[in-house]
Symmetry: C2
Subunit: 260 residues, 2 copies
């Protein structure tokens, strides 16, 4: 499997337990999505949270209650198995890492799919912009900023941001490209000094990922779809499941369809 | 006359000699253009120069030889009178500043109209971005960078750039907006350290304009339509006329039509 693998093949491999790694750099040209799976009593508040924080949470699809299919993202998708790795939260704390959710599934769960910045990375590469964490064979580093999300019910917390290092000319180009794709987080929220948005140490991402900023570059930050997981932890929701950081659901939607 | 004046009224005032000042902040929403007026023997090389340097020289219209009308830019335009102020060059040197070209007109002259960044300034203002030189009542400061233009015949020289100061969030927004308008210079070519592009003193623009960068801001540079005048000087063309820096021809074309 590589950048040319079709999402259907990729999902089958994840479903069979043959691949449980990060998805950055796979299935170029197809939209990757963040997942948040919640008991239905939280669904209305969470959907509103997405509407209030569209930069971090561009909502692309919501499942029926108890259903594990998401037909608008891909005909055969099974959200219980098709993501390489999941994170289960209990009472707002990390509970366990899973490669499937067969035993965790409940009839009251609702799945939310949110756009992910991995989707635009092949466009950056196509325009000659190097994506450092792909070069290094890993995921984008993700940090929790000091920027407050707009609250909805129990959901609030701080904005999570993904980081990619670029020089000045690359930053201009990256803004130019990503601003055309608001459904996968759009333009960056910040670049330059990490302290300006409350990041104390740029070498230590809160969520796993490879952070390496070289001379002549500065960090460029995009709103990140791990923001709901930060919100779930802050709210101490009894039960919630997210994709594991960097391990996305890859859909059948071509990224070009999302050009605004 | 103010930002709401229709371009037709503005041009009539310039034609009557009632206004000879800079055009920044006038006739918001209409495309302003740079002019380069050359003897026809230079026309082919210059048109090619524009094609090779599209960031600096987005060519919007070319007149017939000897004609002072530009019907695609505005029905009644007379390029000899409708610009508030002109600069005449002889042998590549500044010769004189004129408020009309009636006595300078020749039957062999060809007029080139190039997109101008003033056109997008009202869009920046509409999105809440302050434009410093408009606040200060003047023109954008213009510098000559150390970036080489691509050569065509006698035309070469260095890229001229206009500067607007912004903070980080404003810079992201400004790139996002201007990148959608490649026909009026598009995204910036640089931001941050002026020395990177050969500008020694950010407080002293080569072409008149107000340069004021405050704490927490940095200079953001766009390719500028004065670049042909730099090229004309470097090439020591015997006779050429440009608009005076900051004194543009205001057309009847709505800027929204240029959204790419």
């Amino acid at each position: 499997m590589d950048i040319r693998t079709h999402p259907r093949e990729f999902r089958r491999a994840a479903r069979a337990g043959l691949y449980d790694g990060p998805t950055a750099g796979y299935c170029n040209g197809y939209v990757q999505v963040n997942l948040m799976i919640l008991p239905k009593e939280y669904a209305a508040d969470f959907e509103n949270f997405c509407a209030l924080n569209p930069r971090a949470c561009p909502l692309l699809a919501v499942s029926d209650v108890g259903s594990w299919s998401m037909p608008t993202l891909g005909e055969d998708i099974d959200v219980r198995t098709d993501v390489p790795r999941y994170t289960v939260y209990r009472n707002g704390k990390f509970s366990e890492s899973r490669i499937d959710l067969i035993r965790h599934w409940r009839d009251d769960l609702v799945t939310f799919a949110l756009g992910c910045s991995f989707s635009f990375e092949h466009l950056l590469l196509k325009h000659g912009l190097p994506v450092r964490h792909i070069e290094l064979g890993g995921s984008a580093p993700v940090f929790v900023s000091n920027i407050d999300n707009v609250k909805s019910g129990p959901f609030g917390g701080k904005l999570a941001v993904s980081m990619r290092p670029f020089n000045v000319a690359q930053t201009i180009k990256a803004i130019e490209i990503t601003s055309r794709f608001p459904q996968v987080h759009g333009a960056p929220v910040h670049f330059g000094n990490p302290h300006d948005i409350g990041i104390a140490d740029i070498t230590r991402p809160e969520f796993h990922g490879l952070s390496s900023v070289r001379t002549g570059e500065f960090p460029v930050f995009w709103a990140c779809g791990l923001t709901p997981q930060v919100a779930v932890m802050a709210a101490e929701i009894p039960f919630a499941i997210g994709h594991a950081a960097g391990h996305m659901l890859i859909t059948d939607l071509p990224i070009e369809d999302f050009l605004s």
